[in-house]
Symmetry: C2
């Protein structure tokens, strides 16, 4: 094996000081471009490749946050939500001095195996988990291994002794806003097109619609009649609305748990107001009114919770000070206020009490288009 | 500063051998789960975090491939292409023993600054560049610094002395197939809805339409009359088709450079056959016939070209043998054959000659739906 190339070798070859080599490797912006080029050239020619390793040896930190890129979905309509979240995560992490390490996995078992591999080879400082659901083993695994992490998505059905920080969007608040909008426009027969019971996200979104109609005086029997459940998808949405229109007392409006189902609802024809969920590119393309999640802010909050854990209070002050979360691409204003304490009101709620991990619940907004 | 924690300390604490600790850190799959957990616990408690650093020190390699996640686009319709490419890249890289390190940048200057930062801190082994265009300074910068990279996208307008490996999809072949499909259905007045001249990708897609119509006997004057140029976007597509329909000799079909413009073309109403480009989720949702890029395969080819450079011939044999590229999510079969030499025919062409870097040009497929 060849002898180890040192910073001194690189400095000699490039005819600069060792400090300059170190600067090029660690703070290139302070070095003139021509010098930087010469040092890089020396690094390549001599095969010196250990600056990150040296840094990690020194700090015991990789400055990597691992996150999953979701497998492509069948119709891909709702998948854009995670891609937008991942984009926000990449931006916010960079601002806090971290980079995102991507992985993919088709199911929970494959994901746990990937955790093992990542921890062995890349030693990420933390994980961001998405798509939490009932029976999800990932958080328990990471807790047991004492790896810092945050979830984008509430802990659905998790035992009370499993405590960890999370960020989520209040889906029930979104469907409640959608339902109030339809009531204000004079609708009374407002159906909900949701997923089969048992999905945390889906049941939460259904609850906002149900609560709002109940407050408006709709009785339990009528509510149950208006509550339609189906698998996700455009054809499924069309079939469901066709059935609702053929029923005895027709509906005049539909709140949908996803844009996929809402696009199907629009394609069923009929004079029905339709509101979707997630404000996907498809919604924008076809003029669908839809509930928009503040994904850029959700990502920024995930990074802030992680840097609290990894870098402590100084990082928190820094991050809350200058890391204004990027605006979502809908033109809707991001919700940026931070409220401490469970009783706080406002567009977002951050709960921190005693030794419990922090939680952030963000409010979505309704983006008005011509479908409702 | 606390004394450095060693593998021996971890082994003692977990009551296992040093080899077992090393296995847990480097090949966790060979260690029983209970032992793995005990070692991980010891790693956490003692604060041992240097396995990747140690490995990188030893091998001089980070096993990271850096790639950009594209900024969110205005309407987001066409953006899904890069998200699908990134997903394929993550899968193919993992199969080859690499992980994807994400970054983002709003323009070329910001991207070059980010290269500097990534090379200083994370030392990625290679870069994958996307969205190549005329006047793109990124390839020249990386060539000068001798950093291995591959581009997804041809070198548009690059001086002949800048040689590097690339993968691209033959856009002209895609629009030629679309145009032939419309000719076979009896159309003669087939317009092209393209971007303003000067975009490499856009001009390439226009050329396939123009060539096919010329071969069918359409003269240059009529071609020029059928060639419509506009900025990208749904309203722009609707306005363009409205204008084309109001003109003296109406068109009966439109080939579009993007799904955004095609969706607009559909919304203009009128009895016009429409074909889009990129087979986005929006196309699937509204029944738009569209040209589909084999993105999973493009990503796999990028990784294969990089591993050729990074790991040599052994890796090439391994990679071409078992890394079957993932199928695209359209249900269309991926083009998997590899043809060496410029004169080869078939669904994809790989060119390697002498000391020139390899190039791969893949054929897209037409996904038929009800719009044409």
């Amino acid at each position: 094996m060849a002898e180890k190339v040192t910073i001194a070798d690189v400095a000699r070859y490039a005819n600069v000081s060792r400090q300059t080599v170190s600067n090029v490797l660690n703070s290139p912006e302070v070095v003139r471009e021509e010098t930087r080029r010469r040092v890089r050239e020396a690094v390549r020619v001599l095969g010196y490749r250990a600056s990150q390793a040296a840094r990690q040896m020194r700090t015991g930190r990789s400055r990597l946050i691992a996150a999953r890129i979701e497998p492509a979905q069948q119709d891909g309509i709702n998948g854009s939500v995670f891609d937008r979240f991942l984009h926000g995560l990449t931006e916010s992490a960079a601002r806090a001095g971290y980079r995102v390490l991507l992985y993919t996995a088709d199911d929970h078992d494959a994901e746990l195996a990937t955790f093992d591999d990542l921890l062995g080879v890349y030693v990420p400082d933390a994980f961001v988990l998405t798509s939490t659901d009932y029976g999800d083993p990932r958080a328990a695994w990471l807790l047991e291994q004492r790896i810092p992490f945050v979830t984008f998505g509430r802990p659905w059905g998790v035992p009370p002794d499993q405590k960890y920080p999370w960020v989520d969007v209040d889906g029930a608040a979104g469907t409640a806003t959608a339902t109030r909008h339809l009531l204000a426009a004079g609708h009374r027969r407002i159906a909900f097109l949701g997923w089969p019971e048992g999905s945390g996200v889906g049941d939460d979104r259904r609850s906002g619609w149900a609560r709002t109609l109940a407050e408006a005086g709709i009785g339990p029997d009528e509510l149950s009649e208006l509550d339609h459940r189906t698998e996700d998808g455009v054809p499924e949405g069309a079939a469901a609305v066709t059935a609702l229109l053929a029923a005895g007392r027709p509906v005049t409006a539909v709140v949908c748990v996803s844009d996929s189902l809402a696009i199907g609802a629009l394609q069923a024809g009929g004079d029905v107001a339709v509101i979707g969920f997630d404000d996907t590119p498809v919604a924008r393309a076809v003029g669908l009114t839809s509930v928009s999640q503040p994904l850029g802010e959700a990502a920024a909050r995930c990074v802030a919770l992680l840097t609290d854990m990894l870098d402590g209070d100084a990082a928190r002050r820094r991050s809350h000070g200058d890391a204004a979360p990027p605006d979502d691409d809908t033109g809707a204003p991001a919700n940026t206020s931070v409220n401490q304490g469970a009783g706080a009101r406002g567009p977002s709620r951050t709960t921190t009490s005693g030794d419990s991990p922090a939680h952030v619940l963000l409010e979505p907004t309704l983006v008005h288009r011509r479908s409702a």
